[in-house]
Every structure is written in C-alpha cells, then in structure tokens.
C-alpha cells in the first residue's frame, strides 16, 4: 500500500534534491551514494533546530495510550501503524546515532543501524500517517506524532524520496498558483461555467472579479473547490453568498490555492508556497483575507503562516463589513475562516434562509482533523448547519470534535494507486457514519475541507453506498434566499426540491436558532 514515487520533473520544478524518476517497487531507489550521511546530517540539524523534535525523541515511555487511536492501525491491524511504533522507527535511529546508550549498547538499547531496509521502512510508514494528530490528543506527554512524521518526510525529502501525489501539486502550485495547475484563463473559464449554473438555478447573474486591486477582501480557497464535484457546489455557495452580501472581494489567480501540499514535504516548501498569499494581499492592497473550507490549509494559516511569512502588518484585523464583528482570533494572521464569517452573519440575522430547502437531507458533520485539533472550530459549522438544515444528527462521542477520525486520505494520499490504504484508513470514520445512517437515516455527510470532499466521497461509496458528501456552504446556498431570485426548482446539484409549493415570507434570520452563540472566538 503506497503511492508512486515523485517524478524528476516535479522535484526539479522546485529545486528539490536527487530529482530522478524512480519506482518504489524496484530494488534500486537511485539514492545518492552518501545517503546515510545526508539523512543523519539532516537529523542532527533538525535536532538542534527543533527542541520539540528532540523532546519527542526522548520522552516517550511507550505507555501505549496512542496505540489504538490511529485510523490506520484500526484499519490495517499493522502494529507499526500504532503511533508509538511508527515513531519508534525513527527513535531507534535516533538512539543509535544521537544517544550515548544507543551508541554503546546498540540493539540492547533499542537502537538500530540506518541501513537501506530501515530507510525503506521509514518511507513506507511515513506515508501511512496522515498527520491528523488524533493520537496526540491521547498522549499523556503531549507528543505530537504528526511532527515526527513531518520530520521523517523532511529527511526523506533530502534524498528525493517523496510521493508524486504530493509533489505534482507542489510543483503546480509553485509554477501556476494552485495544486491542480489551473492557469488563469482556465480559472476564469471554470468560474464562468459555475456562474452559468448559478444563473440557471437562481436567475441571478454573478460576475466575480479576479486579481482586482483595491478590493477590501482577498478570498482564498483550495483549488479542489473549483475543479472537482462536490466541492464545486460549495464554491458556487461562496459565490452566491458573497454576491448576496455585496461583498467587496476578489479572487486571485496567483494565490489561487488555500491548501499547501508543501506542508507534506518540508517546512521550507510549505513556507515558499504560503508566501504567495501575503504577497498577493499586499500587491492587491486588500484589507484582510478570508479563507474557504479547507483542513490542512488552516493548520498552516493558524499555526505557521505568521511565523513564516508575517507579520502581516500591512493588513488590518479582519472585520466583517456586514456585521462589524472584529475577528480577534485572527489578529496576528489577518485571515479568517469562512465558517466563522458565516456563523457571525447568521448570528446577526443578516441572511434570509429557508432551511426547508434542505429537508431532503438528514445531515451529520465530520470535523476535519486540522480545523478541529489545530483550531478548535467546533461550534461554528454546527451552528451554521443547524441554521440552514432542519435535520442534523451527531455521530457518536469519541468520533467527533477533537477526537474526530481522519477521512483516511489526508496529507496528500488521495492517489488512485493508494486505494486500499485509503479505504482501510477511512474505516473508523465510515463506521461512525454508518451508525447515524442506521439509526437516523442520515444521508449527507457535511464537512469543511476540500480533501474531505474528495476522500470521503470515495470512502462512502465503498463503505456506505448512497451517502452524499457536501461542504457546509453548499447547504448554506441551498437555503439562502437571494434578493430577486426566481423560485428554486432544484437544489445546488440540480435535483428537484422536495418541499411545499408555496413560498412563505421569510424574515431575515428567522430560520436561525437564536439561542446558540456563534462560537467563542468571534468578538460579537
């Protein structure tokens, strides 16, 4: 179970070392002669640079609290997918070369030589961790196994040992502005198509702007949202919402990617890709940045962007032009998650909503690993969903919020050749979805992540056939009553609406449950 090795052309595009075509199934991985030296030097450098890395190497007592928390261990039954043992693959090398006991007693001290077999094992398991960080929630020491995986991937990257499903998007994002390699004129063509669909649905013509200087807000979302279904319906949802609000915003064809597959190769690459967003915000002279529904994008924005490429002092603290809410939590990054923005709109009664248009759906919500564990966004999506849908059901405790299960394909694993691992890794999440399907007839799995929309669609087709997958802003768009719209005949996907014929007068925000706060983070 693995993805194909990274290609020379993609590695070359960003100047990564040892660029060559190679095949993981072949004996010869075409490594540089001094590969051990490179690997260990890379390790030494990172041990001195990242205190957390040395700490995580040293302090694990192998208590096993993490062992059964990993979706890949649950799905594969492979002991090396217990986070503790996965990390042990690198710890054993650490002991051998960086601790006295390991240097002296070798195997007795749990140390092992870095040979080719060990290297290949590290590669195999570094790409069987989605960096979802569920295990870290349960670690009594707070060891973040994702950070260990990140380091292993960085070290492998020094030897050109990456996977193409990650490297292709990295190269495309670097050269063309987004993971999919959508060029500016293509992006415009795609948006015209989506706007045609919106006009058919609502009778309203929307003409979004691109690279517009002087706009108040720059909007950035993962490119999957404007390329692959069902993400496109969510993207149409953004377009409809912004149009209805009369938002002074622009798309960018340069910073046309919210996601950051660079984050799955090395910190340095992630920083390079991330820098485009502030650079574009500065060039266009916007006041602040609004970001779409994405998972790992927000881990990067929330925990790294400011340190890497900040301070963004040329921007203002995000302030909703509709409600006046200042998003204090984005004071340093100057970038706000759209689910916080929309929850705030609903909280202030700024949207006309008819949740009956989602009555054909019984919805559950999958917390994305990164927005939940890296940001604590729990209430906002639920508040928005409950405001636009009448039927919402939670999956069982222990599978949601900070304990959410990974979709199974995060961190750049969505490749076709990797299907078995993806489906095995997707099993725990799918099992919880099956529970609410059997109990409440749930037929729609909502989420706020583009990888989720792609990965869960595949996973559900296999584990829970018939289960739909949607972004939250598709549900918002279904319910959104737009000024001057024609009577909706279908939902966003073109399926006939199953609801009463007469359209009642809808009051602004009347559909919103007024008793729930929009979440603790916005300064309402």
């Amino acid at each position: 179970m693995f993805c194909w090795g990274a290609k020379a052309k993609s590695l070359n595009a960003v100047g990564f070392p040892n660029a060559r075509d190679w095949n993981p199934t072949e004996e010869d991985w075409k490594l540089p002669e001094n590969w051990q030296e490179i690997f260990l030097e890379g390790m030494r450098e990172r041990l001195s640079k990242y205190r957390s890395f040395r700490l995580f190497m040293d302090i694990c007592v192998r208590c096993g609290a993490c062992a059964d928390k990993c979706h890949f261990f649950i799905g594969t039954g492979d002991p090396k997918n217990m986070p503790v043992l996965r990390a042990e693959l690198l710890r054993s090398v650490y002991r051998r070369y960086f601790t006295k006991a390991g240097k002296m007693f070798g195997k007795l001290a749990g140390a092992r030589d870095l040979d080719l077999k060990v290297l290949k094992e590290l590669w195999y398991y570094a790409f069987q961790c989605t960096e979802c960080r569920r295990c870290s929630v349960f670690c009594p020491y707070g060891i973040d196994t994702a950070e260990i995986t990140i380091i292993v991937r960085e070290l492998l990257n020094l030897l050109g040992l990456n996977i193409q499903w990650t490297m292709g998007p990295v190269a495309d994002c670097y050269m063309k502005g987004n993971h999919l390699g959508i060029e500016p004129h293509t992006m415009v063509n795609i948006f015209e198509t989506m706007c045609d669909d919106i006009e058919t649905l609502t009778g309203i013509k929307i003409t979004p702007s691109f690279n517009r200087k002087g706009a108040e807000i720059l909007f950035v979302t993962p490119s999957g949202d404007f390329f692959a279904d069902p993400g496109t319906y969510t993207c149409m949802g953004y377009l409809m919402l912004f149009h209805e609000l009369g938002l002074d915003y622009t798309w960018s064809t340069y910073a046309a990617e919210g996601g950051n597959f660079g984050f799955f190769t090395s910190n340095e690459m992630a920083k390079r890709l991330n820098s485009k967003i502030y650079a574009e915000a500065k060039r266009l002279g916007v006041k602040w940045i609004l970001g779409g529904e994405c998972g790992h994008m927000w881990r990067v924005m929330n925990q790294y962007m400011d340190t890497w490429n900040g301070p963004a002092d040329f921007l203002e603290v995000p302030k909703s032009p509709v409600t006046g809410t200042v998003f204090e939590n984005a004071r340093s990054t100057r970038m706000t998650h759209i689910i916080e923005f929309t929850a705030d709109l609903i909280r202030h009664g700024k949207l006309k909503l008819d949740p009956r248009r989602n009555d054909h759906l019984k919805v559950t919500f999958h917390d994305s690993c990164n927005t939940s564990r890296a940001m604590g966004i729990f209430e906002e999506p639920r508040y928005v969903i409950k405001s636009v849908c009448n039927h919402f059901y939670e999956m069982p405790d222990g599978t949601t919020r900070e304990q959410t299960f990974c979709c199974g394909s995060g961190s750049g694993f969505n490749a076709g050749e990797n299907m078995e691992l993806r489906l095995r890794g997707g099993l725990p999440r799918a099992n919880a979805v099956k529970y609410v399907r059997d109990k409440y007839d749930v037929n729609m799995l909502a989420n706020i992540c583009a990888i989720d929309r792609a990965a869960l669609t595949t996973s559900m087709n296999y584990w829970n056939p018939g289960m739909g997958v949607t972004g939250v802003h598709e549900l918002v768009a279904n319910a959104l009553i737009m000024t001057g719209e024609k009577k909706r005949e279908t939902n966003m996907r073109g399926d006939p609406l199953d609801m009463p014929v007469e359209e009642p007068e809808a009051e602004a925000g009347a559909a919103a449950p007024a008793d729930k706060a929009a979440g603790g983070k916005a300064n309402v």
């Binding site: 499903w165 292709g168 998007p169 999919l180 198509t193 999957g224 076709g416 929309r453």
Partner: protein
C-alpha cells in the same frame, strides 16, 4: 518507467498507463490503448476524446466534469448530458479512462 512498442516507436507511459509525452499521441494510439482494456472506441467515445483534447489545447488541463457534461449535452443532446451517460461510455470514470486514451495527464490535488 514502462514503455510500449507501438508502430515502431517506443512510447513512454507512467505507472498508471498515462502518456508521459503528450506529443506521442495519435488516434491510432488511443484505439490501441482502448483495445488493451478490451474496449472498442465508437463515435460517442471519440466525441468525448476530441473534446478533451480541444479543451486541453486551450486550457492546459482536463476539463472539470461539469464542463464535459455540458459540452456533451450541447453536441449529443440533453439526454446524454449527464455523468451517468459518461460512466456508461467510460466505466472506469470519464476523468481517468477517457483522459488516458486522449493522452492527457491525470489531475492531482484535492480531487
């Protein structure tokens, strides 16, 4: 990297059978690749392949499904403008299978 010998020429393919060099593509090669999967390319199949190639020449990427569906509806009639019809033509998926015969690279990312 695997290669196939076709009409006296070595054609390089990637691990999933997609052309490495888009310039290697010929209609005969498309037929050859389809035959390898036990498929016969009919006029309806060619309609899709030709559109994919035209779109790629203009936009440097395979079209999103939405655009392909609309185009097929335009040229073949609204009853065929749906993903079901495309999956009937290309059971392994229009994005994957048809792109491979058309000589286009497969899209990667959050898809």
């Amino acid at each position: 990297m695997p290669t196939i010998d076709f009409q006296g020429k070595q054609i390089e393919l990637d691990e999933d059978g997609y052309l490495v060099n888009l310039g290697d593509w010929t209609p005969d090669l498309a037929t050859h690749l389809a035959t390898g999967d036990g498929m016969t390319l009919t006029e309806s199949h060619w309609e899709v392949i030709n559109f994919l190639r035209d779109y790629y020449a203009k936009y440097q990427i395979a079209p999103m499904i939405k655009i392909l569906v609309k185009e097929i509806a335009k040229s073949m009639g609204p009853e065929k403008g749906n993903t079901k019809y495309l999956y009937e033509l290309y059971p392994a998926g229009p994005a994957k299978q048809a792109c491979r015969y058309a000589g286009l690279p497969k899209p990667t990312g959050c898809v």
